[in-house]
Amino acid sequence: MTIRARVTVMPKPGVLDPQGKAIGHALANLGFAGVGEVRAGKVIELELAETDPAKAKAVAEEMARRLLANTVIESYRVEIG
């Protein structure tokens, strides 16, 4: 049995996000109006050999803390399912 976990890693609020900025510019140049803030992050989808969602979540959170996110500049969110 496996459980799928999704870890979303985003630049922390206030941390400069050059990529998001460039995407925002590009969307405006493409003619999309009314685009406010754009933030670009990463998402990592994992298959975990677990059966207990709570445990899977804890494991994915530890992975995020130790490797997937750099908590100096990034925040992360874990979803199970």
């Binding site: 630049p11 206030g14 941390v15 400069l16 996000d17 050059p18 900025k21 460039a22 510019h25 750099n70 100096v72 500049i73």
Partner: protein, 584 residues
Amino acid sequence: MTTAAPQPLPAGRARQLAAEFGLTPEEYDRVLAILGRAPSLTELGVFSVMWSEHCSYKSSKVWLRELPTRAPWVIQGPGENAGVIAIGDGLAAVFKMESHNHPSFIEPYQGAATGVGGILRDVFTMGARPVANLNALRFGDPKLPLTRRILDGVVRGIGGYGNCVGVPTVGGEVNFHPAYNGNPLVNAMTVGIARADRIFTARATGVGNPVVYVGSRTGRDGIHGATMASAEFSADAEEKRPTVQIGDPFTEKLLIEACLELMATDAIVAIQDMGAAGLTSSSVEMAGKGGMGIELDLDAVPQREEGMSAYEMMLSESQERMLMILKPGREAEAEAIFRKWELDFAVIGRLTDTGRIVIRHKGVVEADIPLAPLESEAPLYRRPAAETPKPPPLDPASVPDPVGVAEALRRLVGSPDLCSRRWIWDQYDSTVGGQTVRRPGAADAAIVKIEGLRRALALTTDCTPRYCAADPEEGGKQAVAEAWRNITATGATPLAITDNMNFGNPEKPEIMGQFAGCIRGMAAACRALDFPVVSGNVSLYNETVGRAILPTPAIGGVGVIEDAARAVGLALVPGCELVLVGET
């Protein structure tokens, strides 16, 4: 607009904050005497960064004066954003080295990347187009996972930034030693080329001239980075992490193009990049150097975040920003260029003749400080220096030979300090720009041609910290001599150096002794070789829990070879003879 004096902090609170910001009690008393009252929060922030080791060189200045800085080919010695030397045909080489040690420990990729961004700005600020980057790196024990992580991040960061702005990374050096376990060194060097008669400086002149902000917006990045760079790491450094600065190399590239385009006109009076302590150091230094006063209106500063205070804006270390003084009436012309490159542009103040910096925000005067004590009269210390005891001479006969010559050679060649650096330089674009005649690994110094000419620059970085630890004076000499030899070995004529003095806590006499000894040795070698120092950087407090790094005066050398085709490489060609020169 109000002219009321800034709101002083309550006396006790001010003293406590001053200590937190790294001012000594005596230094804080000096602040009180200068202002005749307690400082406001913004004023205290300005004093603490301007008087930090990083900005004021208060522990190192008296020693640095011993270095020779003059030669007929030197156009600009230390004191500006970068050094400048004449390289013939009316051209000049503009170069400097700078450290980003502490940020690279906290966040290796961004720390190293923003280090490259900062040194690039120092060079193009002077009107030069950057043509080459180099670096000097020291890491801890290569067996430690932490070392590997830092090495990987630093190399990616240097490459990521340099590759993206399109400046080739052509050389460098790397050492490993456990003394750097908790305190790696990341020293980045940029070399640019400018017309010798078109060098820009930071000297602001002209009462009423507009103060102009260009580049990226200001956020709450790295507030108090400059004071952090001047404080040794304690075990809880992980906790004290300030917001890390993030580099945006694409914006830097736009900034280079926009600045060089504006520099081709005669609209600029003075220009300075916003490095450590961004808006504070750039405005204070520009106005101070020109003997002017300056007024800033922070409401006009382009801001990335809402609700930033004057204190935060003055201390922000957001990257990719510059401050300029324009000639009167040239604002529209300049703005058009920066808008074309999609960069922020704002007039944020004027030059005055008051000799003071006055900072307004939301109609309130947040700071009003005389400039002279902030800049030229910052505290200077001749700290006690204890000579490093000379090691007794070693009798070669007393050294056992446990492994035999062949095995010793095998181990040496395989050791982290001597093995191939190819893994590193393969990640750096060393050929972008199409002028790299000798890439990393191809010669003792990198050879970068000057576009359109046969003449080329020879570039190298060198230092052997082991030698400096054993005998600072001889080590200092050796580092300069090695740079000189590496340039000479390509057939080029060595002309001048930049340096990056990386040491431990200067309040310890034995560290100050290492510093003084290295300087003495460097000065002697520079004098003997006619190889002056034209720029440099000092990074102190490189310690973790009281353990200092090895004394590391990294040297960046620049030379010129008339015909790039005659540059000598390392590769042996079939049939060549081997000749050994000098005593063994």
